[in-house]
């Protein structure tokens, strides 16, 4: 069995209120990816369409996109695991290619979140939790992650100031990423300035500045067999390791509240499959839907010991020049988080880094990169390790 590679990546700009339909939005990521891969639609054997369906008015978007992209009559189908949908799509594409069933598979992630209000969107996101036993209490995503933040603070002495540093880093890179929805700087002082929206409480202890930016966007990844990748692509990036896990949807069914078990388990699987350790990772994209989520990812992925994630950000080791650069494209916090597009966008960032095509965001001397993508409140976890 040969290797499986990535020969094309693309994404739309992540924006507020995309002025078009979902097929037009998804086409933007697809077009950039096709131009990057230098292939035609006839080369693609199958397409996997990924999003969180509760935002879509269109039922079963796969068929609609396949037609709009000119990918009929090839097979197309839909994959969903909330915010990790397109990483799960890449996992599936890997297995389709590895099995020999297909040679080239397009994984398209998208989300148009702006068709509904922010409160409606919070209500729908809250329904990604247990609608029978938790949603009737008025839950929402920030409050769940806030519970993890509170537990992390209580056990390890992590502070709101430590979390603010993660947002400051994200904004540093959001400013230089032309695809990012939030391109303004965020300073540490804004978190204590009552005049700044960043300081407004959302769900204690998390503030507005701790929360990612909602956005509309799309992403696309072309997954290829070793033979095709070598024929079609000058700089293929190889999928070295994959990990995926799930846990109890209801908080009452969980044991760990200072980290995400799915991140740990998916990470362990991916490291084992790739035959590498956390020390071998040169650049990483982690799922920073909230600042605390990035802090927990440092620890769950083994970049820091449990409770020591704060030291990593305080010493700026996760900046571009540090020992383990994390989210140097602005992350979900500043680049934006169009649910179904996020995993593909994270993979795109790492592929561009490994090719040396990340422009101002480029990290030097890279061999191996890691993508950590979480669905729901640590309900689903995907880790993908990529190498040159």
């Amino acid at each position: 069995m040969g290797k499986v590679g990535i020969i094309g990546v693309g994404q739309s700009a992540f924006v507020r209120g995309y002025p078009g339909s979902i097929r037009e939005l998804a086409f933007e990521g697809f077009r950039e990816c096709m131009l990057d891969a230098h292939i035609t639609t006839k080369d693609i054997d199958a397409s996997v369409i990924c999003s969180a369906p509760e935002y879509d008015k269109q039922r079963s978007p796969a068929g609609v996109f396949a037609e709009y992209f000119g990918l009929t009559p090839q097979p197309t189908f839909y994959v969903e695991s909330l915010c990790s949908s397109s990483s799960m799509g890449v996992r599936l594409a890997y297995s389709l290619v590895k099995s020999g069933l297909h040679d080239l598979v397009a994984v398209v992630g998208f989300q148009k979140m702006s068709e509904i209000s922010s409160a409606e969107s919070q209500e729908r996101m809250g329904r990604g939790a247990d609608i029978q036993w938790e949603s009737p209490f008025g839950t929402m995503m920030p409050a769940y992650y806030a519970m993890y933040a509170r537990a992390h603070m209580a056990k390890y002495g992590t502070t709101s100031d430590d979390l603010a540093l993660i947002r400051v880093k994200a904004a540093t890179y959001g400013q230089i990423n032309e695809k990012a929805v939030y391109r303004k700087p965020v300073t540490f002082e804004m978190f204590s300035d009552p005049e700044s929206p960043m300081s407004n409480p959302v769900a204690s202890p998390l503030r507005v500045g701790d929360c990612c930016a909602n956005a509309d966007g799309s992403s696309c990844i072309i997954v290829a067999s070793e033979e095709k990748a070598k024929t079609l692509c000058k700089k293929p990036v190889w999928i070295l390791g994959l990990g995926a896990a799930s846990t109890a949807v209801n908080m009452a069914g969980r044991e760990l509240f200072t980290g995400l078990t799915v991140g740990e388990q998916a990470g362990e699987q991916a490291y084992k499959m790739a035959g590498v350790t956390p020390k071998d990772i040169d650049v990483a994209e982690v799922h920073d839907c909230f600042t605390i989520a990035e802090m927990m990812a440092y620890e769950n992925l083994g970049f820091a010991k449990p409770g020591e994630g704060k030291d990593l950000i305080k010493s700026k080791e996760t900046y571009k020049e540090g020992s383990i650069p994390v989210n140097v494209d602005g992350g979900l916090l500043s680049k934006g988080h169009p649910i179904g597009a996020t995993g593909g966008s994270q993979i795109r960032t790492i592929v561009l880094q490994l090719r040396g095509e990340a422009g101002e965001m480029q990290v030097e001397d890279l061999e191996i990169g890691l993508v950590h993508n979480i669905g729901g409140v640590g309900l689903y976890g995907n880790v993908t390790i990529l190498g040159r």
Binding site: S117, A119, E120, Q122, E123, G126, R127, D130, I131, Q132, W133, E134, S135, P136, F137, G138, T139, M140, P142, A143, Y144, A146, M147, Y148, A149, R150, A151, A154, N200, P201, V202, A203, S204, P205, L206, N250, M251, A252, G253, R254, F257
Partner: protein, 145 residues
């Protein structure tokens, strides 16, 4: 003479400020809640204890459950006070969601409105109490033990 309309047991629609589901096999939970009792289920076959209650046991694949009451003190695992709410919950603001650990099981719910935030601390002991909401719906809340 038309067919007699089948009666639907939708008692669960009374659970929470806003409910998202109404038909479940453990609807007796609502009757117990109306009597002031918060109940979980225990599998009669293998003894596995479940909260929230459920109709089916994944350990032994049987569906023969008995009710047990959530009593005594649990430890506060974590909480968060919300300043924004999803659609339908705005009138409840501000409120705090939380998790209590009873050892054999955990309970997710809200902290009672009369507990000031400066008196809430992770690790403190609390009790689970049945509660009627201003809109007549039912839930349960955590009080200081």
């Amino acid at each position: 003479m038309g067919k007699k309309k089948k009666e639907i047991d939708d008692r669960f629609k009374k659970f929470g400020t806003v409910t998202f589901t109404s038909i479940t096999k453990i609807n007796d939970f609502i009757d117990k809640l109306e009597q002031g009792k918060v109940m979980g289920t225990r599998c009669k076959e293998c003894g596995h204890v479940f909260f929230p209650p459920r109709a089916d046991c994944y350990e032994c694949l049987k569906s023969d459950m008995e009710w047990f009451e959530v009593t005594g003190k649990g430890k506060l695992v974590s909480y968060s006070k919300l300043e924004f709410a999803p659609v339908g919950f705005g009138d409840d603001l501000p409120y705090a969601i939380a998790l209590l650990d009873y050892g054999d099981y955990k309970v997710f719910g809200r902290i009672a409105d009369n507990v000031p935030e400066n008196e809430i601390e992770v690790g403190m002991e609390m009790e689970t109490v049945a509660n009627t909401l201003p809109n007549g719906q039912l839930n349960y809340v955590f009080q200081k033990a």
